[in-house]
Symmetry: C2
Subunit: 491 residues, 2 copies
């Protein structure tokens, strides 16, 4: 909330056309005095040594601080805070799998994911944090400035104060709100989970604490090419950074065709395959069609097809995910030791979009996707979002559309291909292969009524609002933005 | 869903800047061959004779087709369709009234409210219906082309087919989708009720059935000045009609200051007090603040402070509303006779906005309002929305902000002042005084953090999306649009 308190010389907010994201090619650090990415690596390694977790699996029944409700079987924290593991009963009339039950995380609190940005010598920098989470497969990852549940910052945790939180909570500071929007998280694992995604530009000097550093947008984009480095919470916030006007239009002339098409896609106002009105009507229609979707919380003991013993909860086929318990000993974090349940997914997932140049403008093929945990039935997901091995033994008809096309793609069509981690606070070693594949194929609407070609500008417009673009698609939007950087485009 | 099937010569959808609402001063009928509003009156009177309801109060216990659940006390239809009357338990920590329970209508189906529009000789016309509803205090009112619950059009009703429904359901017809968005209804009386608000432009000849007629936008605007004439469902759809570009900008020179400021407010792109980004951040902040609002369905028998006998359900103070039963005999409708429960509110409500010219652009003072039945905690309501007599005996501090200012306004500040009816299918004689009051006062944000000045263009932008603008505010937006017509502006 800026309450109209704009800084002198700045007009409008980030979402207005006049707001430009000032990226430049010359990437450099300011706060940490690290002039290039080689020195970043050194800083990052050092952070990894200072911030660590030792994670040990423990039986669900032995989780100190947590209890299983004797009546429902639900697993909750004794404070009543954080989250509970409950059951969900899903009815999807007309779908391939029209009904199922599953365990799900219920975390009704809206937390804050916030990135502080600041201009140094005309270059916009993001204050990033090297943060370790128990579910991370590789220790430290780059996180937003603030990544805090409400329990975190209201002190239920009994841990240290969350650094920089005051910038996101105190409205009287002179800052500019670039983005502030609640966005959903994994609808297959979370019941109606939302976090507030915030980007705030500050004008005053900011002390850089241990474990934090300023990176330019260009540097963050380069680091998005590295496996498991930029964490999910950072990616979703970065996706909300408006990119219209980030580059002068006339710079497209020197670019290769792909990057020029990408830039036009971000700019907006150019030929999009469908108008924004048509896209919104399509979403309304899809949400109305699936209006008899029911997702009701049930006792965890009443989920069918799942097995439970003192150790864990798992699906009888071994598919989907397991609910496990962990004991965490951490250095460099708010709290030194704790236990918690986590979700451990099966295998590495695939999150892929087909992209296509239509009249010189890059379009992304979005899927109107139902997930049980969504607040409003449907959100726009990537072209393909699944764990391929779940489909290994099924007939081609039962496989998700475009899955085989994406898997069979030739290397010269691949524009982005990196494995990235999902939220390490709730998910144990949850990793997805994020893939951008360029295609020339037609996608007839009659045959694929749940898919639409959209520009990045249209997705950016939807990202100003809640519940339109899912977390996996938001990650890919951050990755697509990163392809602006020359270094980032694959050969 | 247009699926890209644009009619030749038309580009983009209504929500795009190039779409102009083609209103003209010369109001005339086409379908009904009624050339002026005098003849409209004659046609309308005739419709009132052919379409009537005889409504008789009957005890809740005697409603044929309805039953009271012996365990919960909930009142439902034997088919399980239409709606149920249940209980709602509301917790609003920190509010003046932090907790209460109440009866509420649960109608999870998303119905269709649709207006068919068509150009005759360059003038856009709306196909309006003279429709009677049992709750209307005055018989027939002007309704959208289609006003149908899902039960209506899937035949649970066992009534006649809904005329013109095929235009809104059949996607293969050559038409242009001007608006298609789900919007909420009264959050105090409905639990999460939503209807799909649709405007479709057709190009083919349309047969005008008995009880329907084509009216220009200008005529509809004039009729909005008449008490209880344009019904709620028509008003909410009209509010979703985009008004940007409706008049060439240079026509403002001949207008009085108020109408010129109104036109600039609709046009957008001109000085708004707050940027759209700031408005969205303010809404995010408000929704996050009230995130611990809980509204849980409970058995109707468990509402506290309410009395029930075989006749009705009422609050022990006599305030708020009653749940009553009615027996309806209707002519000119789908079904000849039925019974149903209805909500009968206490007194005539007040729905008022303060408007102010800021740098020559009309701004409307909107209120971030919590209602128990909203899907997402808060929607933007008018400056004042209440039943004044509920506050007659309370101290000034307990009265809603701006209520006394609105009631004490001098006649020369009043731009619109008409009593209009709410939905007559569920509410019995529910009427509100709709009021637009121009002011010069300052509204300091520190003192009124839940209020913001907004332009009509900004409200129009929000109306492209669900759950931002409440039903009362949408009615007032339709009324504000109507003030464009010279005839409509009060002296």
């Amino acid at each position: 909330m800026t309450d109209g308190a704009m800084a002198p010389g700045l007009s409008g907010s980030a979402s207005d056309p006049e707001m430009h994201v000032r990226t430049v090619e010359s990437a450099r650090f300011v706060g940490g005095q690290v002039p290039d990415l080689a020195e970043f690596d050194q800083w990052y390694d050092e952070c990894g040594k200072q911030n660590y977790t030792e994670v040990e699996r423990v039986p669900l029944e032995d989780l100190a601080g947590w209890r299983t409700d004797p009546v429902t079987g639900n697993i909750g924290h004794h404070s009543g805070k954080f989250f509970t593991v409950q059951g969900l009963d899903v009815r999807l009339p007309g779908a391939a799998v029209p009904a199922w039950t599953q365990p799900i995380i219920n975390q009704p609190e809206v937390g804050i994911l916030g990135i502080l940005v600041k201009e140094f010598d005309g270059v916009l920098h993001c204050l990033m944090q090297a943060k370790v989470e128990p579910g991370n497969a590789n220790g430290v990852q780059l996180s937003p400035t603030v990544q805090a549940t409400r329990s975190n910052y209201t002190g239920v945790h009994k841990g240290k104060a969350v650094p920089y939180l005051e910038y996101f909570r105190d409205r009287d500071r002179p800052h500019r709100m670039i983005a502030d929007v609640r966005q959903s998280e994994q609808g297959a694992w979370f019941h109606r989970k939302r976090n507030r995604n915030m980007i705030i530009e500050v004008f005053e000097p900011v002390e850089v604490l241990d474990g934090f550093c300023w990176l330019t947008i260009g540097q963050v984009h380069e680091l998005l090419q590295v496996e498991d480095l930029i964490n999910m919470d950072a990616r979703t916030v970065l996706a909300c950074l408006p990119f219209a006007g980030a580059q002068p239009a006339d710079t497209t002339s020197g670019l290769d065709g792909f990057r020029a098409a990408l830039m036009r896609s971000c700019e907006g106002g150019r030929g999009s395959r469908h108008s924004m009105g048509d896209i919104l009507a399509w979403i309304t229609d899809a949400r109305t069609q699936y209006d008899d979707v029911h997702a009701t919380m049930i006792p965890l003991d009443q989920v069918r097809g799942w097995r439970r013993n003192p150790e864990a909860i798992w699906h009888e086929t071994g598919a989907f995910f397991r609910v496990i318990g962990v004991n965490v000993r951490a250095g460099g974090r708010e709290v030194g030791q704790w236990m918690q349940p986590m979700i451990e997914p099966l295998g590495i997932g695939l999150v892929a979009v087909l992209v296509k140049r239509i009249d010189g403008v890059l379009h992304v093929l979005m899927h109107a996707r139902v997930e049980a945990g969504y607040l409003d039935v449907i959100e726009l997901g990537p072209t393909v979002q699944c764990t391929p091995e779940n489909y290994d033994h099924l007939t081609p008809a039962a496989r998700p559309p475009f899955l085989d096309e994406v898997l069979a793609t030739s290397p010269d069509q691949i524009r982005y291909d990196t494995v990235l981690s999902e939220e390490g606070g709730r998910f144990y070693h949850a990793r997805n292969r994020y893939l951008v594949v360029e295609t020339n194929r037609d996608v007839p609407l009659q045959q694929y009524p749940d898919y639409r070609w959209m520009t990045l500008s249209q997705l950016g417009e939807l990202l100003r609002h809640s519940h339109y673009v899912n977390i996996q698609a938001r990650s890919l939007i951050a990755c697509l933005h990163s392809l602006w950087s020359k270094q980032a485009v694959l050969a």
